[in-house]
């Protein structure tokens, strides 16, 4: 066991998988000599050489397409987007090539696209986006979003070994802010399974990514008021772990869905719809959503704080459903 940060967990996952499997390689902007804009591949270039840690030209569609082609002939590429926001430039390759290869003509496309996403870092509209919404309606993709260092490592390893295209949403805000004790042995966290981040009986807070920590803070605060929150950390966003979502709500009967992504068309809408569809009889009140408002991510500290859901917002929502 050792304590490592979320960022170190990501790094370790890649490092171990690259050591284990010569088919695994990393490509993207500045991942080589520089070690990546966030240092996730620091030292890799020296260790694995310029053909497994490739600095690419500035061309997201080109290098994502190349990752797909390499995957089709047996490699397991990890694509680093410098910021998740730039994934928009590779949208066509991901949505029309990677996502549909297997269905259309039976070819597996085992690529992982690492997408450093999310706000709270004064990055503005182009360095803070939550990009899961771009891909959430695209069958054939898998989307994961770890909230802890433990999961960051285990899920990334699972993604690299998975045979489908996986978009790995790593929250920039968590990189150096959270730590976990990680086993020394190899482990994976399976894709498709949510996690109960905290058990509770009164209300389910369903969330993922950095907001799990906001939810945990909420739960702690509310405990003092005698409200017991269960926190479901989705971990995998596509496909959703319906069993865990429904299971928790069948127990608590009250729900708040929480995410940093903007509200309309967010993952929370789907969670809510699943509950109304499959769990209606258990519901004891409206399904509230706490999410960013429907705007681009603003830059100034004042506006960004108003934009990103805060603990007080989640407390208010939980209190509201509890009054039901």
């Amino acid at each position: 066991m050792k304590e490592i940060t979320y960022l170190e967990a990501i790094k370790e996952a890649m490092d171990e998988e690259m050591a284990r499997d010569p088919g695994v390689f990393v490509l993207g902007e500045d991942v080589g000599v520089y070690g990546g804009a966030f240092r996730a591949t620091e030292g890799f270039y020296e260790k694995y050489g310029e053909w497994r840690v490739l600095d690419t030209p500035l061309s997201e569609s080109g290098f994502t397409g190349a990752a797909i082609g390499a995957a089709l002939v047996g490699m397991r590429p990890i694509v680093e987007m410098q910021f998740a926001d730039f994934i928009s430039c590779a949208f066509d390759q991901l949505v029309n090539v990677a996502a549909k290869n297997h269905y259309r003509w039976g070819a597996a496309t085992p690529i992982v696209v690492r997408a450093p996403y999310g706000g709270n870092i004064h990055g503005g509209a182009f360095h803070s986006q939550c990009i899961e919404g771009f891909f959430f309606n695209v069958p054939g993709l898998k989307i994961i979003a770890p909230s802890t260092a433990y999961d960051a490592k285990g899920l990334l390893k699972a993604a690299i070994r998975d045979n489908d295209p996986v978009i790995y949403c790593e929250h920039k805000y968590l990189y150096r802010r959270i730590k976990d004790s990680i086993p020394d042995e190899d482990y994976i966290v399976p894709i498709g399974k949510a996690r109960i981040a905290r058990e509770g009986n009164d209300v389910s807070v369903i969330t993922y990514g950095a907001m799990v920590h906001t939810a945990l803070e909420t739960a702690q605060l509310l405990e003092e008021n005698g409200v017991s929150c269960e926190i479901v950390d989705l971990r995998t966003i596509l496909p959703l772990d319906k069993k865990s979502i429904l299971g928790s709500v069948k127990k608590t009967s009250k729900v708040v869905v929480l995410h940093e992504q903007t509200k309309t068309g967010g993952v929370g809408a789907e969670v809510s719809a699943l509950l109304s569809e499959y769990c209606f009889d258990f519901l004891d009140g409206p399904i509230l959503r706490v999410a960013a408002p429907d705007t681009p991510v603003p830059y100034s500290a004042q506006m960004e704080e108003a934009f990103i859901p805060q603990t007080k917002d989640v407390v208010a929502a939980v209190e509201k459903v509890m009054r039901y």
Binding site: P57, A66, G69, L72, M75, D92, H102, Y103, A107, K142
Partner: protein, 328 residues
């Protein structure tokens, strides 16, 4: 470069097979026996036959939709293609996809995604894998003249050249992109000029001359296979049908079609074979009979094949499905 007689005859065979297959598809389309639309490479068959035949077994083709010759040469049978066109279960994609949206890794053929030029970066990635693994395999990726205007053309070519990857980019310049003539597509005279932007060596060939295409491809593949990096081959030809079989192509000047009709790739090859006394009329007729029979069998096979089951629709989204998903 000397080409063996046997290879010349195979090139002729594939030209004929491609033509007759697509001609038959065209008839069936007009009889309403094809599901959806029909796209052919009519008049430009020498491009795909030439570059496809030059590939070795372990190489990869990253084709576009007028590359029927490549599909056939690599081993995707006329039967499966005909069934594909009819939306049958025995089609190349089991009915999941249609017409020319074909791919099969068993034969080293990447699927064609409609989005033109997407296969330039994808092909580049396979070449990257070969370079990483130090394998002596190469990739041939193809797109149309219109496809060269897309960003993915640029990004694929640029990446391949920056890393000197073993890939050869082919362009089927048939002078039109749907109704759009070259003049509105680009300001350059030859598409080969695009390659200058990447320091990629290029060659312009008569795209109606299968021997020329084949030779140019062989040379370029050889360079790529031996570490010399990518090349670009512009095949000048002319699309003789409409964009697809529902398009009468009224926007194409008739004289242009008349002019190119005389340069038909099959006629050109017949003339070459006969003038060089490589084969006589009888032998060529024999090949043609064989091709005809093959197409008839393919059609019969396709006709007799079952349609897919409607439940197949739910299968195959993921290579590694998530068990829990099936609960609901």
């Amino acid at each position: 470069m000397d080409i063996k007689r046997e290879d010349l005859l195979r090139l002729y065979y594939y030209l004929k097979l491609t033509r007759r297959l697509e001609d038959r598809v065209t008839s069936l389309y007009h009889q309403g026996r094809i599901l959806g639309g029909a796209w052919t490479s009519n008049g430009t068959e020498a491009v795909s036959v030439g570059y496809g035949y030059a590939l070795e077994k372990n190489d990869i083709a990253a084709p576009y939709f007028r590359d029927m010759g490549v599909f056939l040469i690599r081993g995707i049978t006329a039967k499966r293609i005909m069934a594909q066109y009819m939306g049958k279960k025995t089609g190349v994609t089991g009915g999941k996809e249609g017409n020319v949206h074909i791919g099969d890794l068993n034969f080293g053929v990447f699927g064609f995604p409609s989005h033109l030029a997407d296969n330039y970066p994808v092909g580049t990635g396979a070449a990257l894998a070969f370079k990483i693994r130090n394998e002596k395999r190469i990739v041939a990726a193809c797109t149309g003249d219109g496809g060269t205007s897309r960003g993915d053309f640029h990004e694929g070519m640029n990446f391949a050249s920056a890393r000197k990857l073993p890939i050869v980019f082919i362009c089927n310049n048939n002078q039109y992109a749907y109704s759009t003539p070259l003049r509105l597509q680009m300001a350059i005279k030859d598409i080969a000029e695009r390659a200058l932007a990447y320091a990629i060596p290029s060659k312009i060939v008569d795209g109606n001359n299968v021997v020329e295409v084949y030779k140019a491809a062989m040379e370029a593949y050889d360079i790529a296979r031996n570490g010399g990096g990518p090349s670009f081959i512009e095949c000048k030809t002319m699309r003789m049908h409409g964009h697809s079989e529902h398009d009468s192509a009224r926007y194409v000047p008739r004289e242009l079609l008349e002019e190119w009709k005389k340069k038909d790739p099959i006629l050109t090859m017949e003339k070459y074979l006969m003038e060089n006394t490589i084969a006589g009329k009888e032998e060529l007729d024999g090949i043609d009979s064989q091709v005809k029979k093959e197409i008839e069998e393919a059609e019969a096979f396709a006709e007799e094949s079952p349609y897919p089951d409607s439940e197949d629709c739910l299968k195959g989204v993921y290579a590694t499905p998530i068990e829990e998903e099936r609960g609901i």
